[in-house]
Amino acid sequence: MAKPFSAKVVTANDLLEGDVIYQTADGWTRDLAQAEVLTDEADADIRLIDASQQHSRVVGAYLADIANINGTPSPVHFREDFRATGPSNYRHGKQETQQDV
């Protein structure tokens, strides 16, 4: 039996800024919470191909596993958690502009 498909987002680095971005239904966002959640494998593959062809916008697109909590994606693996936040030794990267919670 095939493994059940776990929810994913398409993520990459921004060509100009280098920072982590996520695909939305009609573009890209820097905020994982705004990313489009992909729950269908065939759909995910198509979205990835679409992302990978955007040479002048993104670098290194891939599918990342996420936990789909009421439609809001959150990281599963710690690497994706760091990518979504920034480094832990300074408040640099995404967390620089994010609100404290």
Binding site: E17, S56, R79, R83, P87, Y90
Partner: protein
């Protein structure tokens, strides 16, 4: 100071203009990432986890105040006001924007610097002791020989397609500070019956399959150096495996064929090519040596030093820990710790860089070095100037007295920055330093090198840490493997794995158990951690590290 002229001004300008055009074409979409990637890597530009990273070359880790000031300016203008000094004796910027990189490269070129990375399977950067030309214990400055090798190997037609990259390190001293036993070839300048020559070590390397280099020749006369090196590289060129990237380094060639077989082949080849070397190389060496001539050392009374040493406990503690003996009378080598407790190992702010540049200019014959232990060195400071130097360093938060101690930790960027990482390194280093600083045990513990890598590539040299820490991903959780008894110095050794790994929050208590066991086990205060470990072996440390296992076994 030697004017390092690998690339002249015109070449750098042309190269930068070329890269600027490539960046434009990448941004316009004319170049795909697959096409652009090799171009950017050649120019020192990497894409990490959160941003681009620019790696600036600092040959022999040597730079002057003008260069350090430009590094500070770049940090302010195009990065976040700091830079990261690495174990490769270079500096990395963690936050450049693609569009800005050509301007950063132009700024570097204004002081003769660049980010060009030697790449490909050739003889790569030749490295040397960071105390070169200053250390009291050195027979000769190793940099001229390193530079001779670099000039000879660059564009050497026979060696452009080696099985794998090839790294050479040279030291001029018994106390190896250049980790020569972890290089493809390590050279140590030695003297035998009044004649100068080299001990030649081959087949060292860290990474996936760590190996300590082995002595191929215990004494090689100085004039035989290049033909002998050529013999080694050509034997490797023939025998080295090209079928498997992980088995292609010379360490595997030596391991698989045996040292004696390699030696016989090298000697045979050497006898054949030796006559072709007619002494031109030795003339080149003389010329390079003249370029590396020592600065004009001064003589001055030492009263101010003696006075401060007697009166100021902070100065005394710093002097005891951070100074090394200089070969010139009245001088000292200053190691500036870039390891303030709780800070990121190797990170210096732009202001700190400027302070260090000023100190080098005012008191240090305008010379700075970057050590592979991620500290900055003022190689030539007269002792009478040390109180002033110390005061300025203190004001800049750079006077931490911890060189060689438990908080002088090497840590690679790990998963806080590096895209290849399997776990973080920096927070582990920060926590260890803060923890032992709070315990006020650091000076009592004495010399102890902790080295941390965030993946098996071993950029943090964990295999040769007295305590090595390797961060891994175990089923989606950061996990840290501890090795003990490693050593990168003269009696180099790969550390032994202590046992199962630890979760991130178990690492500090684990390190504490090891250290407490050492304090308990050492024969007296003078026996260092490494000496105790060598005397007693892994067992008592393992028992301390895994108390539960003891209980279960009982």
């Amino acid at each position: 100071m030697y004017n390092y002229s690998e690339f002249d001004t015109a070449f750098l300008a042309e190269r930068n203009a070329q890269f600027r055009a490539q960046v434009e074409r990448r941004i316009s979409g004319a170049l795909t990432e697959d096409e652009f990637k090799p171009l950017r890597l050649m120019n020192g530009l990497y894409l990490q986890l959160h941003a681009y990273m620019l790696r600036v070359a600092i040959p022999y880790g040597t730079l002057n105040s003008a260069q350090m000031n430009v590094l500070a300016d770049i940090a302010d203008k195009w990065d976040k006001g700091y830079g990261h000094f690495t174990t490769r004796q270079n500096i990395q910027y963690n936050w450049p924007k693609l569009r800005d990189v050509p301007d950063m490269l132009d700024a570097l070129a204004s002081v003769g610097m660049h980010a060009i990375q030697t790449s490909g399977n050739t003889i790569r950067n030749v490295t040397a002791d960071h105390f070169a030309g200053a250390a009291a214990d050195e027979i000769a400055d190793p940099r001229p020989v390193a530079e001779l090798i670099r000039q000879w190997s660059t564009d050497h037609p026979e060696f452009q397609f080696l099985p794998r990259k090839f790294k050479v390190a040279v030291t001029g001293s018994e106390n190896d500070r250049a980790v020569i036993r972890a290089h493809d070839i390590g050279l140590r300048i030695v003297e035998q019956n009044g004649e100068r020559g080299f001990e030649v070590i081959v087949g060292g390397g860290l990474g996936r399959t760590p190996m300590i280099g082995k002595v191929l020749r215990s004494f090689l006369p100085q004039a035989d150096l290049l033909p002998y090196l050529e013999a080694i590289v050509s034997v490797y060129n023939l025998l080295g495996r090209r079928d498997n990237k992980y088995k292609a380094r010379i360490k595997i060639t030596v391991h698989e064929n045996g040292l004696d077989d390699i030696r016989a082949r090298v000697e045979e080849r050497f006898a054949l090519i030796r006559p072709q070397f007619q002494g031109v190389d030795q003339q080149m060496l003389r010329k390079i040596e003249a370029d590396f001539a020592a600065p004009a050392f001064k003589s001055a009374p030492l009263d101010s030093y003696t006075q401060a040493y007697g009166a100021d406990p902070l100065f005394r503690s710093w002097a005891d820990t951070n100074l090394s003996n200089h070969r010139a009378d009245g001088y000292a080598i200053v190691s500036i710790s870039i390891k303030a407790h709780g800070q990121t190992p190797g990170d210096a702010t732009s202001d700190q860089m400027r302070v260090m540049a000023d100190l080098a200019k005012t008191y240090g014959h305008d010379e700075l070095r970057i050590s592979h232990e991620q500290n900055v060195i003022l190689p030539h400071v007269h002792r009478s100037d040390l109180p002033n130097v110390h005061a300025a360093l203190r004001a800049a938060g750079l006077a931490t007295a911890n060189i060689g101690l438990i908080s002088d930790i090497i840590a690679c960027p790990g998963m806080d920055y590096c895209a290849l990482a399997t776990a973080r390194s920096i927070p582990i280093a920060q926590d260890i330093a803060t923890h032992f600083d709070a315990l006020k045990l650091e000076h009592d513990i004495g010399p102890l090198k902790i080295k941390i890598s965030g993946c098996i590539n071993a950029c943090g040299h964990h295999h040769v840490g007295h305590i090595g820490i390797l961060g891994l991903d175990r089923a989606g959780v950061e996990n840290y493997q501890i090795t003990l008894g490693g050593d990168g110095a003269a009696d180099a050794q790969i550390g032994e794995r202590a046992g199962p790994g630890f979760a991130a929050d178990e690492v500090i208590p684990a390190i504490e158990r090891i250290v407490m066991a050492y304090l308990d086990l050492r024969s007296d205060r003078l026996e260092t951690f490494l000496q105790t470990y060598r005397r007693l072996g892994l067992a008592p440390f393992k028992a301390a590290l895994y108390p539960q296992a003891q209980v279960n076994a009982a």
